[in-house]
């Protein structure tokens, strides 16, 4: 553990790429694979998770002085479960079809490890502002990862993006991309792509440093 905790801005930017919850930390895999068959459910899921993450982080950060070490995980999960109930009821009331489509994956946000890990790593130690920035950055990173997966799967699987048809009518829909195997393949290959780009950039940076020095 470092002695100086990261500032709000660092927390925010870290969440987007350097510590991206999906591609770097491999957290929250279950909604990532389950709801990314198309853009609409993926973005609804990202929004619901963002709401829960921001609310839980802020509340936990506000009561960080009252937390007891052996009870903290219980407090985290109960706080998260409360906000998930709110999000679930809201979706059911205003977006009924979407709530039916997401099914059990909205209540499953409770056990999404991203949120518990952010409460543990950031919110239970730092002030409200930092916790808020951290939650926003992480939510943005999560949303970007979901969007990347959903884009690939929806375009290849149904030839559309956000429900708008993109590919010509002759496109043979790769139905497998919408089904469960497609989720595993897409995430595996995108992960490889991120690793490959990351390694290339690290090698290029090392080369530049050697030329300069």
């Amino acid at each position: 553990m470092s002695k100086t905790e990261p500032t709000a801005l660092e927390r925010f930017t870290n969440g987007i790429l350097p510590e991206n919850p999906i591609y770097r930390q491999f957290l929250g895999m279950c909604p990532t694979l389950a709801v990314t068959g198309a853009m609409k459910p993926a973005m609804t899921m990202a929004a619901a998770t963002a709401f829960v993450l921001v609310s839980a982080n802020v509340i936990i950060s506000l009561m960080r002085g009252l937390l007891r070490p052996h009870l903290r995980i219980l407090v985290f999960t109960l706080t998260i479960a409360t906000f998930v109930t709110i999000a679930d009821r809201f979706l059911e009331a205003y977006f009924y079809a979407m709530s039916k489509e997401l099914g059990p994956y909205v209540p499953l946000i409770i056990v999404n490890c991203i949120i518990i890990s952010r409460c543990e790593i950031c919110a239970s130690k730092q002030s409200v502002g930092v916790a808020l920035a951290d939650a926003l950055g992480m939510s943005l990173g999560f949303a970007l990862a979901l969007a990347s997966l959903a884009t690939v799967r929806e375009i290849l699987g149904s030839g559309s993006w956000f429900g708008v048809t993109l590919l010509p009518a002759g496109w043979p829909h790769w139905t497998i991309m919408i089904l469960s195997p497609g989720a595993f393949f897409t995430l595996g290959l995108l992960l490889a792509l991120v690793n490959w780009v990351g390694r290339r950039r690290a090698e290029a940076a090392a080369l530049r440093a050697r030329i300069k020095g």
């Binding site: 895999m29 059990p104 409770i110 595996g188």
Partner: protein, 231 residues
């Protein structure tokens, strides 16, 4: 007879056709994290099955008597305090909090029990036992049971709920042990550098999921098979 067919359909549906990991994507974290060796994978799978059964039992009891729309316990309290008749009380807004409580409590209970009576098994589980609390497969099983207790005309009884939990847990065990067997072999292979670690594991999982799609429709044959066997 009819009961047997229903139970078989639920069990095979949960274990093979709609496998928890490969179809519903729940329990992916231990599926990728604890699948390096077959023996730990088997232990993890059985522990999850056990906790899932206990959590399913408790959550069925709570949902049936307390939380579902028209549950007997709140109705009785309502009458005892002299509320108007003809009111259906629905406490399902509390169900998520209740399930998380039930799961955390049963994991704690199982941990204490195993530590006291099976110390060797406890040592081999290590850190994985408490981690089952955040395993989404268990909450998913509770939610499935809740879904089947919402419609008052077709309520699930305790046998159906337990069958779903045991079947789903065994399906999880099957998937994680298969995965561990494949990954033990993969250690000998020359995997492309960028795919090493979770990348190749996900692709293997995709191929497994494709294989499990072949089970679709098996449940439709159960009824005829059981009828023939009974004759």
């Amino acid at each position: 007879m009819e009961m047997l067919i229903t139970l078989l359909q639920i069990a095979i549906g949960a274990a093979l056709i709609n496998n928890f990991v490969l179809h519903y994507f729940v329990g992916i974290c231990p599926f990728l994290g604890v699948s390096r060796r077959t023996d730990t994978a088997l232990g993890m799978g059985l522990a999850v099955t056990f906790v899932m059964s206990i959590a399913a039992l408790l959550s069925w009891v709570f949902t049936y008597y307390l939380l579902r729309p028209g549950a007997p316990l709140p109705a009785w309290v309502w009458q005892a305090v002299g509320g108007k008749s003809g009111v259906v009380i629905d406490l399902s807004v509390l169900s998520y909090i209740m399930y998380i409580f039930v799961i955390a409590a049963s994991v704690q209970f199982v941990e204490m029990y195993v530590r006291k009576f099976f110390p060797a098994l406890y040592k081999s589980f290590g850190v994985y036992l408490p981690l089952i609390t955040t395993n989404c497969a268990i909450l998913f099983a509770c939610l499935e049971i809740m879904k089947h207790l919402q419609d008052p005309t077709r309520l699930w009884g305790l046998p159906e709920a337990l069958t779903l939990a045991v079947g789903g847990g065994l399906g999880f065990t099957l998937a994680i042990v298969l995965m561990a067997g494949i990954r033990e072999e993969l250690d000998q292979c020359d995997v492309p550098h960028s795919l090493r670690g979770p990348g190749i594991a996900l692709i293997v999982a995709g191929i497994l999921a494709m294989a499990f799609m072949g089970f679709a429709g098996v449940d439709r044959g159960i009824e005829t098979t059981v009828t023939i066997l009974m004759k």
